[in-house]
């Protein structure tokens, strides 16, 4: 067993084999979606899987982009995603900073309550949120959706940013305070530049949640305020099941999260493990 450290070639190949097998398992369903989105109805309904070699068509994309309200949904998703991410980072950053840096009455309560409300299931929010918007006739207002996404995102963002703030040595701030900086200046001029990657991770998570969220979007939006996931789900009931178009829509929805993954995989993994592995 002591030779394990060197790793025999056989073992190395075995490990690579295992990794490739798992990678294929992860990728196949995603490829099925992308591939199907480029197939015509005849090929899809033939029922025989074709993996790579078929004549690709852009018909499905053309239909999605021109006949549906894809542009409307896309704009809505971007507005809600960007706005809720901004507010999450802004408010969450302030809160995380104070939790990481100062002692005050109620600090412990805020820290624990934040962790607790992070777990509130969206299904529990559904009825009260629906009651709220019907009572004040706010249906079709993207601001309401932005508000709820900010609320849903804040706990996790605070948690993540807290960890990043804790890694910055106190001495940096102390030096600034000695030089006469106010609390706000310390935060804005000294800490914020050091926190760029922290905010990037928290921002990716916040945007992803807003971009993917479905239940609240389904309940709180109308014809013109639907977001992309609601639009995609609509394809199943509206027009029968047109797999090519559904998969084209799915592919378009998945592009931003996949782009994030390729550019920031390490940071995303750091964010995911932050909750369980104490750093």
């Amino acid at each position: 067993m002591s030779e394990r450290r060197l790793g025999s070639p056989l073992e190395t190949w075995g490990r690579y084999g295992g990794l490739v097998f798992l990678a294929v398992l992860c990728l196949v369903p995603i490829w099925v979606m992308v591939g199907t989105s480029f197939k015509n109805e005849v090929l899809i309904f033939d029922g025989r899987p074709v993996w790579f070699f078929f004549f690709p068509t852009l018909d499905n994309y053309e239909y999605i982009l021109t006949r549906g309200k894809f542009d409307r949904y896309l704009v809505n998703s971007i507005i809600v995603g960007a706005a809720s991410t901004f507010f999450t980072l802004f408010f969450g950053g302030l809160c995380a900073y104070v939790l990481a840096r100062s002692e005050f009455r109620g600090r412990r309560f805020v820290a624990n309550a934040t962790l607790l409300v992070r777990m509130v299931p969206p299904a529990v929010l559904a009825v009260p949120a629906f009651a709220m918007v019907t009572m004040f006739s706010l249906k079709n207002d993207l601001a309401v959706l932005t508000f709820f996404y900010t609320a849903l995102n804040l706990p996790f963002a605070i948690w993540l940013l807290f960890g990043f703030y804790k890694q910055i040595p106190m001495e940096i701030e102390e030096a600034a305070i000695v030089d006469g900086a106010t609390a706000w200046q310390v935060f804005y001029r000294v800490l914020l530049p050091l926190m760029k990657s922290g905010y990037a991770v928290a921002g990716i998570f916040a945007f992803r949640i807003a971009w993917n969220e479905f239940v609240l979007a389904l309940l709180l939006t109308g014809r013109n305020t639907r977001t992309l996931p609601v639009g995609a789900a609509g394809f199943i009931t509206d027009t029968g099941v047109e797999w090519g178009r559904i998969m084209a829509m799915g592919t378009l929805i998945v592009i931003p999260p996949l782009v994030f993954t390729f550019f920031a995989a390490r940071q995303i993994i750091a964010g995911m493990t932050a909750g369980a592995v104490k750093g």
Partner: protein, 310 residues
């Protein structure tokens, strides 16, 4: 707030709160307000609504206050029981399989290897795909007529085509498999991070003492990452109670209630059966379960309780 109340008391002098001492509160105020209005208030509202018989078509002002009637009904409602049972079964199978798979894969592949970052990027892809899209993809794969799963089962094993999403047990199997595809990588990533953070001296020492691979794994490594495993398990369990989208897309909870997890059950009761008050009572049950699990996580220590000590 406390300062002004104390100020009105005669004969009691309190040191004035200076602006500096209030600064932390100004910083946390926006976040706390949004979370209070967007998360805490709805939970309280669900509790309030659970005491009313409120149907979707009537305005709330006409709803009857029914006391604990909704809760009494819930206790004897076979549909709620079934949904709870489905949720527990789903949680059991997905979490057991995901933990076993995720942990064993992590143990096999923990050693640093060239190209690890490429593989890790691929492994988190299922986690990044939006749940609605996951539901759509797997609904297609399990489709009775054009689905790939029927095709390959027939080709390789000669199994007759099945109506996967139309038969209770098969539909349940389908949502379990979908969940395993999406979430096993999560366990894998967390466990591997934990394993690689283990101090190498300890492993070295156990090796020198003659521990074989099994002993090292089960007596040294796994016990040392126990708290990670427990937290991963609790987080997955909470997710099971929050899950809704994938089943909504794949089966809508059916056939019957075979795949109707508790969250989806609440949604269907509220907006399909249109019983908002009754659905709120079930939502209260859900929140109690989720908070109980969250307290179990808190018991493991909240990192945010440690102020910067450096």
């Amino acid at each position: 707030m406390a300062a002004s109340a104390a100020g009105r008391l005669p004969g009691r002098r309190r040191p004035r709160l200076d602006a500096r001492a209030l600064t932390p509160y100004w910083f946390i105020l926006p976040a706390v307000l949004v979370m209070a209005a967007g998360l805490v208030y709805p939970v309280a509202d669900a509790l309030y609504l659970s005491f009313f018989d409120w149907k979707i078509a009537t305005p709330f002002s006409k709803a009857d206050h029914v006391g604990f009637a909704n809760y009494v009904r819930m206790l004897g409602d076979p549909d709620v029981h079934e949904s709870l049972w489905v949720t527990l079964r789903f949680g059991f199978w997905t979490i057991v399989i995901e933990m076993v798979l995720g942990v064993s894969l992590a143990l096999m592949l923990e050693k640093p290897i060239r190209g690890a970052s490429v593989f890790r990027t691929i492994f988190i892809l299922p986690l990044m795909v939006s749940p609605v899209v996951v539901g759509l993809i797997w609904r297609y794969l399990f489709d009775a007529r054009v689905g790939w799963i029927n095709y390959y089962l027939g080709l390789w094993f000669g199994i007759e085509p099945q109506v996967w999403l139309g038969v209770p047990d098969l539909a349940f199997f389908a949502i379990v498999l979908t969940d395993i595809w999406q979430w096993t990588p999560f366990i894998f990533i967390i466990v591997i991070a934990g394993l690689q953070a283990l101090p190498s001296e300890v492993l070295e020492a156990s090796r020198i003492d003659g521990a074989n691979w099994w002993q090292q794994t089960f007596l040294v490594k796994l016990p040392m990452i126990r708290s990670i495993l427990v937290i991963a398990l609790l987080m997955r369990l909470i997710d099971v109670f929050r899950a809704l989208e994938v089943m909504y897309i794949m089966t809508g909870g059916g056939p019957g209630r075979a795949t109707e997890l508790l969250s989806l059950h609440i949604y269907n009761r509220a907006f399909d059966a249109q019983l908002l008050g009754y659905a709120s009572a079930i939502a209260v049950l859900l929140i109690v379960i989720v908070f109980a699990l969250s307290f179990a996580i808190l018991a493991h220590g909240n990192p945010m309780n440690e102020k910067s000590d450096v």
